[in-house]
Subunit: 375 residues, 2 copies
């Protein structure tokens, strides 16, 4: 069994590019992880997700524990086999979504008792149960069970929550045990307060993890506040371990995060946008719902090599979106995932060549010139 | 420009196998045509439809004239380019769906005035306008504009309707003109009355068409009545031209029709079933909604080579269907289209080898032994 490891091939400023090695394959960093909430990246076949350049998917513990159930997935051979994806999978801990989606019953030091949003059934999540579920799913990269306080929250609330998450991190580490080839990541909390971020990072380093996530961002605080934290938070975490910014984000969030030393990200944005007629391109966003596309014979993005741009006009994409056809979600999701992965590839290549600054300048220039809707 | 032609390679009883040659490619017969109603075979990319073995698609004049509009499709380069399918397309005339879907305003000898079911806008269809629309779409096989009376109908109503359809067939032929490489098919009507079918066939032969459809079946009369008509109707049509049974059908309908000399068929069944959790297999139907599949690690059909059967368990298909995931429609539609095309391939091979009877016996035996849900 190959061990889990991380090697940095090049740095450029605070940005890094490298490879995470896992028994199920390599993950090129900086990496963007498409989200496969319910054991599917919505509207995509897994081979198509791979074709966009994804090395790793994210699965949601909260959704999978409720339906189809972790024990069931385990009996069926694990999540990889279940969803027909044999490359690495990272699972979140369920902590974030139990707060945002469930009918929350009770949060204690022990864990969280809640009702399923699917069928109202009662469930319990704790560091120990989250580790068990992620093991049953067969996750390659397991996340500590943490709590992310809802905003707005006072600094005191954020501090209390972070300290409980750090105690939960220790319980997660203990429950995870020793699983060669599988990684456990700690999650830094502390909101937008530098001292709390430092305290959290200290606590995590003392426990020791295979990688470190920056949690509690991209929850409505805005890009400026997020970048403010990212100006110092990655530097508080061990330089030789992957740093994962959870739930980010828009292309310009991704670029800013990579510039600040982030190695991994995930977001539902490219797939969710695809299902609502929104396309992301180097020249900005295109809303295919818009009537101006009805007669437009041009592809979404003339320089894009994805199947949606190679095979179809904006007029077609507009038509199938308006007609409620499934192919609209299929093609636009594919395009968006392709664009996000192409962006990651551009970032990796630029960092390796030591020209990240020029790449980022080009990125912003194209978007500013952009207004692709009217081009 | 290659001419449109039909060559019969072998016959077995009344069944025939051969090839329709068109400038856009060959169509192996007996052929099953997946339906691409609104310029998409629902939940499938066109390259995937092709991968199932489809040589030709059907497009719906009624749907396409309303949205996105025939003139618009023409300006965008025609339906093939619009929907990214460069092989043959057959379009229906709009006659059937204007009766079943529109808010019908007025049917006269001239044509049909109706309101769109999409937006209530007013439209007119006639033999001349139907020919124009199908030309604008760029259809390879154009269908005459006809009327199919709603059931129940008296024999007199069926006769009157058939005779108007024959007058419309003449106007369609006139309006179609001479378009090398494109074919015009006449449509036999006459319900379940042999004399009316004979009269209709005579009228069509007198006009002269590139192929002949058997219309007015599969509209609720039942398989026995349909086979009753198919026992004589194909023989009334020119033996050297393709015979197309419109809107059929279930696998056993298809087998019975091929045995009776039908060369082409179309139906929404495999794609529509796919979106409602129904799978068709050689051993019968599987309802993936059913809770009995929740823990079943076996593929839908162990002998099927489609992506759904090669990559996924029944448990997975059940899960994604129940979770309302788009991939359920994608995989089950793919499976169903694959099975239908495999059935056609089996029929063609059996006819060529002169062993259709044995093939059909096997087909029915497997289904009878079947009950694949419980196997």
């Amino acid at each position: 069994m190959t061990a889990f490891s991380f090697s940095i091939a090049a740095t450029d400023g605070r940005a890094r590019t490298g490879t995470i090695h896992t028994p199920r394959g390599q993950i090129r960093t900086p990496a963007f992880m498409p989200v496969g909430t319910a054991a599917t990246v919505k509207a995509m076949l897994p081979e198509s997700v791979r074709a966009t350049g994804a090395d790793i998917l994210l699965g949601n513990t909260y959704h999978l524990m409720l339906r189809p159930g972790a024990e069931r997935v385990a009996k069926l051979g694990g999540l990889h086999r279940f969803m027909n994806w044999n490359r690495p999978i990272l699972t979140d801990s369920g902590g974030f979504q139990v707060m945002s989606l469930s009918d929350l019953r009770k949060l204690t030091e022990d864990g969280v008792r809640f009702k399923s949003h699917v069928d109202g059934s009662e469930h319990f999540l704790s560091p120990e149960r989250s580790m068990e579920i992620q093991r049953l799913l067969g996750s390659d990269i397991v996340m500590c069970f943490d709590e992310c306080p809802a905003l707005p929250a006072t600094e005191e609330q954020v501090a209390q929550s972070m300290r409980m998450s750090m105690r939960w991190a220790e319980r997660s580490r203990e429950a995870f045990g020793d699983r060669p080839g599988h990684a456990l990541f700690g999650i830094q909390q502390g909101g937008v307060t530098k001292e709390l971020r430092a305290e959290s990072a200290e606590a995590l380093r003392a426990i020791g993890f295979d990688g470190y996530a920056i949690g509690g961002l991209a929850v409505g605080e805005g890009q400026e506040a997020m970048f403010g934290v990212l100006d110092y938070a990655p530097g508080m975490l061990p330089a030789d371990r992957p740093r994962y910014l959870m739930g980010v984000g828009k292309p310009d969030d991704i670029v800013g995060a990579v510039q600040r030393g982030v190695d991994m990200m995930d977001c539902v944005l490219p797939s969710r946008s695809g299902r609502t007629g929104q396309a992301w391109t180097r020249r900005g966003q295109v809303n295919l719902k818009n009537a101006r596309h009805a007669d437009d014979p041009r592809p979404l993005d003339e320089d894009c090599a994805c199947p949606a741009c190679r095979g179809y006009s904006r007029a077609y994409l507009h038509h199938v979106y308006r007609a409620g056809e499934i192919i609209a979600s299929m093609l636009l999701t594919w395009h968006n995932l392709h664009y996000f992965q192409e962006l990651m590839d551009g970032l990796r290549t630029a960092i390796a060549a030591g020209r990240l600054e020029a790449f980022v300048a080009d990125f912003h220039r194209l978007r500013a010139e952009g207004d692709i809707e009217r081009l």
